[in-house]
């Protein structure tokens, strides 16, 4: 298989099969690849020299991936699928020679007597020597050396054993722990300070540090890739592709997102809000046609010799809804509440008024935190720290929160108001007070409930969503950005 990338074998069968397998893998990872795109990819690789791995990768990406958010997923699949194909990326056992050579070259260039001498080719390097090389590699930002160090470090420190069912993160952790990158960064900065003729200004220092951090990030990626390659060699492509398969950003579950996924969600939400705002504004303007604009019609008829050939209409001005958001912000569903608040406020100009309330077992209005704030993320963060939401013990009590809400703010709900309740309705066996929902629905235009739990969990254990649902206009499962987006679209 590994000679599939050789030019003579490229023609025909081998490459077709290879691509078919690759596309299969992409579809498994959730990327939508159509038949036409598949054919395009086949056509595209004919024009690309197959030895050029980068060009090959871009050619495939251009024809198969049509959404930038899917790029990461594509890259992972690509790396795994083609990791053992292509000469530079094969796991070579002879690369210590290459490494020693590189190091020797380096020393000759530098003529630095203090550097430790490296033993002959093929010998194992000591941890000190690896550390020294790592330091040099980072200091010079030398890609080839960095790759060599990464390879060496994985071999020495990861302690990989064939057939051991451990994930790549475990090996990554072991390797990084041994490399002590924080210490290296410190050393690099010290070195930079000393080597500069005059003391570094804070700005220079900052820039220097950013540069090194960037290089360290690259090194980490290099190490990750190396571990992945080793794992693929050990377990085979199919098994690895499966374990590495991650949900696309829009499919990440709010309640079980890892820290990294949270970060990517936060990044994804801003473009999403912008898109939604544009779409909603458009819908509002084009949804209905207004009455005939007589003046404009007459004016335009002039160019047709007085024949009103082009009737003109006034823009309609439909009224905007008012939104009340009531969100549970107890531990398990906090992330979901955060995203929804963020989204609702980001498109708040689509509503005439937005008011927000948060609760755990007590309830508090947090509208003021969003007023006149430019940075919504900041305001959302303040909601979590400043709102007064604990009444007795800080365990969700929907019943009590709703009751207080009704007594304090119930009268302010009017026929233009849409009420949104966010939460999993896990009430810790307290009284439900579902009559509040009934009353709210009587007064409000709509009452919706968004539940971040999978539907199959509803009404199990202490979840009483069914009891509230009886009084709502709609209850929606809302576990990821895709579902949330769909709901907000429906709302405005």
């Amino acid at each position: 298989m590994s000679d599939a990338l050789a030019p003579e074998a490229a023609a025909g069968q081998a490459i077709t099969e290879l691509l078919a397998g690759f596309i299969q893998e992409l579809r498994q990872a959730g990327l939508p690849v159509s038949l036409t795109e598949n054919l395009d990819a086949m056509e595209a690789v004919k024009h690309i020299p197959l030895e050029d791995r980068e060009a090959f990768k871009y050619a495939l990406a251009a024809t198969l991936v049509k959404n930038n958010a899917h790029w990461r997923a594509f890259e992972t699949v690509f790396e795994v699928y083609f990791s053992l194909r292509g000469s530079r990326y094969r796991i070579a056992d002879v690369d210590e020679d290459e490494l020693a050579q590189l190091l020797e070259q380096l020393e000759q260039q530098e003529q630095d007597g203090a550097a430790p001498q490296v033993g002959g080719a093929g010998e194992n390097l000591t941890p000190e020597e690896i550390a020294e090389m790592l330091f040099r590699a980072l200091q010079r930002g030398d890609d080839a050396l960095m790759r060599a160090v990464a390879r060496q470090a994985v071999r020495r420190f990861a302690g990989m054993e064939p057939g051991r069912p451990v994930g790549g993160t475990y090996y990554l952790y072991r390797t990084l722990r041994n490399l002590d990158l924080d210490g290296v960064l410190q050393k690099l900065m010290d070195q930079a300070r000393q080597s500069s003729p005059e003391p570094l200004t804070p700005l220079e220092e900052r820039l220097e540090q950013d540069e090194y951090e960037h290089r360290i990030d690259q090194l980490k990626k290099e190490i990750e890739a190396e571990i992945r390659r080793a794992l693929v060699a050990d377990r085979g492509v199919e098994a690895m592709a499966k374990t590495l398969r991650k949900p696309l950003p829009e499919d990440v579950d709010f309640m079980h997102a890892s820290r990294e996924e949270m970060a990517s969600l936060r990044k994804a939400i801003y473009p999403l809000t912008r898109k939604l705002a544009v779409r909603l504004a458009r819908k509002r303007r084009h949804g209905r046609k207004g009455p005939l604009d007589f003046r404009s019609t007459v004016r335009h008829s002039l160019s047709y010799g007085g024949v009103p050939a082009e009737p003109k209409f006034k823009y309609p001005r439909p009224s905007k809804p008012e939104i009340f958001v009531i969100a549970d912000i107890s531990g398990s569903v906090a992330a979901f509440a955060r995203f929804t608040l963020h989204l609702v406020y980001a498109i708040s100009n689509q509503f005439s008024k937005v008011r927000s309330f948060v609760f755990i077992d007590g309830i508090d209005e947090v509208t003021r935190l969003f007023e006149g704030v430019e940075d919504i993320a900041d305001a959302v963060h303040r909601v979590n720290t400043e709102a007064d939401v604990v009444w007795v013990d800080g365990h969700s009590d929907y019943g009590h929160a709703f009751e207080v809400f009704w007594n304090q703010w119930g009268k302010e709900i009017g026929p233009k108001t849409t009420v949104l309740v966010l939460g999993d309705a896990r009430n810790n066996y307290h009284a439900s007070q579902s009559w509040v929902m009934k009353e709210i629905r009587k007064r409000a235009r709509h009452l919706y409930w968004l539940n971040p739990e999978p539907k199959s969990y509803w009404d199990t254990g202490d979840s009483i969503v069914g009891e509230y649902a009886a009084h709502c206009d709609g209850v929606y499962e809302c576990r990821n950005l895709r579902q949330l987006e769909r709901f907000v679209d429906l709302l405005a």
Partner: protein, 302 residues
């Protein structure tokens, strides 16, 4: 192949000629321009504002010596603005003029639906051009989903159907670029017909080179500093990260002010060129200041 039907020889050739017209591409960009030519497919370029999406089309036009035809998209764009329109006023005049001659209606009808009365709009113009052209459909995400369908025929078959005249097929296949700021999801049908290129903020080295090429009289040291500072600022969570064009504006300003090396004070006083939101500016300034604090702390500790 002496006279190959293709415009470019290899990816490297594309890259070099783009460099000659002062557009610094990377592997992805050059590779996709090359493929677009080979496969005869349009390129959909997507990415944040100010990363040189439109410039790419312009540079490709310049590099191949082709005429650039640009269709700027906006909400409410329709067939009559994008494809073609009958020149009603001229038709009316002709009808009135010929009525007095006593011609039959059939003759008049044949007459007024001929190419003389056709106003070509950018898309039709690109198709019917004799000389090589580059068609740029700018900000395609601004048109409504329904209007996108207008583009489909032209993008896949390079032809336009006019009910009264028949189908006009392209004499040569133009290079087509569509740009999008991603304010909405484009339809699957459109995406499927295009090669997809995402242009992101450039890497440090490339940005430095861009600054060096585009800003005359800038020293290498200053360009390097500019690129590094911009990279640091982009790492903050901002509403709008500085784009390449803003980087260039900033570099030009620094040169005009006669600044040779940027310190915190200069950075703070000119940062409004890089960032356009008050909250972003505040955040960046805070960051620059705060950096001061942490460094002094670290120095005190050492």
């Amino acid at each position: 192949m002496a006279d190959s039907p293709y415009r470019f020889e290899s990816v490297a050739a594309v890259r070099d000629s783009l460099r000659k017209v002062d557009y610094l591409s990377d592997d992805g960009i050059a590779g996709i321009v090359y493929l677009a030519d080979r496969l005869g497919k349009p390129v959909l370029v997507e990415g944040p504002a100010g990363t040189g999406k439109t410039q790419l089309a312009k540079s490709v036009a310049e590099m191949t010596g082709a005429r650039l035809i640009r269709l700027q998209c906006y909400e409410g764009l329709d067939e009559s603005k994008a494809l073609f329109e009958w020149n009603y006023k001229k038709q009316l005049l002709r009808i009135q003029a010929e009525r007095s001659d006593g011609k039959t209606w059939e003759a008049v009808e044949d007459d007024i639906f001929s190419e003389d009365f056709l106003l070509t709009r950018p898309l039709l113009e690109a198709i019917s051009a004799e000389e090589p052209v580059v068609l740029l459909i700018d900000e395609v995400d601004r048109v409504e989903v329904e209007t996108e369908a207008l583009l489909l025929e032209i993008l896949s078959d390079y032809q336009v159907s006019i009910p009264e005249l028949g189908t006009i097929t392209a004499k040569q296949i133009p290079l087509v670029f569509l740009t999008s700021n991603n304010t909405r999801e484009l339809s699957e049908a459109l995406k499927r017909r295009c090669l997809f290129l995402h242009v992101d903020y450039p890497e440090l080295d490339r940005e430095r080179e861009i600054v060096l090429t585009k800003v005359p009289d800038i020293t290498e040291a200053l360009a390097d500093q500019v690129a590094r500072i911009v990279r640091s600022i982009r790492q903050l969570e901002l509403k709008k990260s500085p784009s390449v064009s803003e980087t260039l504006d900033w570099a030009r300003t620094l040169v005009l002010l006669g600044i040779e090396s940027v310190d915190v004070e200069t950075a703070k006083s000119t940062i409004n060129i890089l960032l356009k939101y008050q909250s972003d500016i505040a955040k960046a300034v805070r960051e620059l200041d705060q950096e001061n604090g942490t460094i002094t702390k670290a120095a005190a500790g050492a």
